[in-house]
């Protein structure tokens, strides 16, 4: 059954969405960045994590140990992530806030004072962004019971895991909503709510069976990936500008940085298995960028033929073989070019901000995303 391999791929990949640039370089970029914003961002949402409700869930999730429900992986990844990849979006929002500087308006000043160059409202926004991101990680791990077979273990384990996943995701979203309300800025509420809608649309198609053959074209890849991976970060960066009453130009630049960084990062993540040839067996989505480019190059007939070549009697795909086939064409190099393109666009956006430590940190991230 395809959903399990697809789900575990998606679950693992999206857990540490910024994990793929070379570890030591990335870790350094992150820890330098954290110093700039005043504290390790992994402390964010601690209040939420320690709440009664989530402690309750944690207790119940322990019962899932030994089952195959995806929630277990999500929870595990949240507790133990060796590469400091927790809460990267929040970190970027904080850096962007700092890079943009204080409120420029004298007629409509902000009364709260900045801490480490960031307004409290912007810090809260960073936390809210993370809550939303995590909520969707959790909701993506929900299993379609109709596709359950005996080899997945007892049905009631899947039902129970689903229940926990729905509840914890809802809890995180609810906290995001009340957090948004407390920002006292309805324009920001509107913007971030629209981002939530974007994420839903973006990941909705992952649940369709057409994803088993790959349904994205080069034209639709960027729109789709923007929705599922870019919208939240782009709109949060823009919202951070709004909160400090920065003008439309700053808002747009922040949005562009968020968008291009997220897209560049997704490309990096997609490319990893094609560029780093290790002995690991390949696992990848047929809608990942190199595959999408490859499909366009070889055309639908040859693609179907290639798929048949790598499928066994049970129509299961040998991804390692498929990877080999894809590497013989130009899909990978086109994806690499696109990755550099987005990294550069992100850098371009930052150049318009005054030089600062925060700006440099964001530039370092944009560079790191193009490295393998």
């Amino acid at each position: 059954m395809a959903w399990r391999s697809r789900l575990s791929y998606i679950g693992w990949r999206h857990l540490s969405i910024f994990s793929n640039p070379s570890p030591s370089n990335w870790t350094k970029v992150v820890s330098d960045a954290e110093k700039i914003v005043g504290y390790p961002t992994s402390f964010m949402s601690l209040r939420c994590l320690l709440s009664d409700e989530l402690s309750n869930v944690a207790m119940h999730v322990r019962k899932l140990v030994g089952t195959k429900h995806p929630l277990l992986n999500t929870a595990r990844g949240f507790v133990y992530d060796s590469r400091n990849n927790l809460q990267m979006r929040g970190l970027i929002v904080l850096l962007m806030s700092k890079a943009a500087g204080p409120c420029p308006s004298t007629s409509d000043p902000i009364h709260d004072s900045m801490v480490s160059g960031i307004y409290p409202s912007q810090r809260n926004l960073a936390e809210i962004t993370e809550l939303i991101h995590t909520a969707f990680l959790v909701h993506r791990g929900i299993v379609n019971l109709k596709e359950w077979t005996n080899s997945d273990g007892p049905l009631k384990d899947m039902q129970f895991g689903n229940k926990m996943a729905v509840l914890s995701g809802d809890f995180l979203l609810a906290n995001a909503c009340t957090g948004l309300a407390q920002l006292n800025d309805t324009k920001v509420v509107e913007l971030i709510s629209s981002a939530i809608g974007d994420v839903v649309q973006g990941i909705y198609h992952e649940s369709s069976t057409s994803a088993e053959e790959g349904s994205l074209t080069v034209a639709s890849w960027e729109d789709q990936t923007f929705l599922s991976h870019g919208a939240l970060l782009a709109k949060s960066c823009q919202a951070a500008m709004k909160l400090a009453r920065h003008g439309n130009e700053s808002q747009n630049l922040a949005f562009q940085y968020g968008k291009h960084l997220a897209l560049g990062h997704k490309l990096n993540s997609d490319l990893h298995t094609f560029v780093k040839s290790g002995s690991e067996p390949a696992v990848f989505s047929l809608d990942s960028a190199p595959v999408v480019f490859h499909r366009q190059i070889v055309g639908p007939e040859r693609w179907r033929h290639q798929l048949k070549q790598v499928q066994n009697m049970a129509r299961q795909i040998d991804y390692t073989k498929l990877r080999g086939l894809i590497k013989t064409e130009r899909g990978v190099s086109q994806a690499l070019d696109l990755c550099s393109y987005h990294g550069n666009k992100a850098l371009e956006a930052m150049k318009c901000f005054p030089p600062s430590e925060a700006r440099s940190a964001l530039e370092n991230m944009a560079c790191a995303v193009t490295k393998f």
Partner: protein, 347 residues
């Protein structure tokens, strides 16, 4: 067994009349211009059109629901408007609140159906049964995001806070159902608090929101809130009664559903006093063979239903007391009549 409430023919006609009047109002809501119909407006903004997602989101907005919540919200809005010298005309923002509250309610139902693994709702197959659990959850999230956007567009921070609180209460209420309290006294308190969070909070805060939009007097907000809270709790108590007393086909969902989910509601909690055997069953959430049937028998033998009904009446009386503090109007009187509707419903 369906208990006849003894309502006269005339009273039944009045109830039906009210239902019809407000189904009409509700259908007006659904066909509003795109400016005030949040769901449609949002869909028009979509970058990439997702036809199937739209089908899921519209699935329960087919006019077949009771439209109870929008009904109350609109009546409350008009009553507050009259009280505030603004005549009974509904403000567009108030109409939005009515739609938003129905959207929040629907989103929570969609998620509840996944949590409870329900097959049917309002006479149809549930979204999770037709399209699967993953898409159902995403659809619920989408409806919530649309509600949140529509809420923000009203442009009033207080109103946003008031309704965001509902979203949090709904989730906390669902969490409260996960555990069972050991202590009998705590159990009832827990039940009422859960009932507030899961049902009454939405009505109370929606009423409060429409009052805020037209009046700055905190006493008026409190009246609206308390009416909504009391009617909401009464509504749920009656719902819990109907779970024991109605036939499966009248409700659109199977009865003894709460017991089957392991939940101990009003009638059961009261019945405990006469049949202590229920304690152990409550603690194990009716999970042993035959528990559900035996518990049901005990409840029907006891005065649990009667006591719950009495409690619901008490809440309705409090709602009437509150709303009577507003200036007289047809809407205020309709809200008073509505409490009767709540108590007399058979579905």
């Amino acid at each position: 067994m369906h208990k006849d409430t003894g309502a006269s023919c005339h009273e039944r006609k009045v109830s039906q009349g009210l239902y019809q009047k407000f189904s009409y109002v509700y259908s007006l809501l659904l066909t509003q211009s795109t400016e005030t119909d949040p769901l449609n407006f949002v869909f028009q903004q979509l970058l990439v059109s997702k036809a199937e997602l739209k089908v899921l989101c519209d699935y329960y907005f087919d006019g077949k629901g009771k439209a109870f919540r929008p009904m109350i919200v609109i009546l409350m809005a008009r009553a507050c408007n009259v009280h505030s010298n603004k005549e009974g005309v509904l403000l567009p923002a108030q109409r939005s609140i009515a739609m938003i509250s129905e959207m929040i309610h629907t989103a929570s139902l969609v998620h509840d159906d996944v949590i409870d693994d329900s097959d049917t709702r309002r006479g149809k197959n549930t979204i999770n049964k037709v399209w699967g659990e993953r898409k159902a959850i995403l659809a619920g999230d989408f409806i919530l995001s649309a509600a949140s956007m529509a809420l923000a567009r009203i442009g009033n921070n207080t109103v946003v806070s008031v309704l965001s609180q509902v979203i949090e209460d709904l989730v906390r209420g669902e969490f409260m159902q996960l555990g069972s309290k050991e202590n009998e006294n705590e159990r009832f308190k827990h039940y009422l608090e859960k009932t507030f969070k899961k049902t009454a909070s939405l009505i109370a805060n929606s009423c409060k929101a429409v009052s805020i939009l037209v009046n700055s007097d905190p006493e008026v907000h409190e009246i609206a809130y308390q009416y909504g809270r009391n009617v909401g709790i009464a509504f749920q108590l009656v719902d819990d009664i109907l779970d024991f007393t109605s036939c499966a086909n009248l409700l659109g969902k199977p009865s003894a559903a709460d017991l089957k989910l392991g939940l101990a509601t009003g009638p059961v909690l009261f019945a405990c006093q006469q049949f202590p055997e229920l304690h152990a069953m409550i603690m194990r959430r009716f999970s042993s063979d035959g528990d559900v049937d035996r518990a049901w028998q005990y409840v029907l033998k006891s005065d649990g239903v009667e006591q719950t009904n009495y409690l619901a009446q008490h809440y309705c009386q409090e709602a009437i007391r509150q709303i009577s503090r507003l200036r007289p109007s047809t809407e205020r009187d309709a809200l008073i009549q509505l409490t009767e509707l709540v108590l007399r419903r058979d579905k």
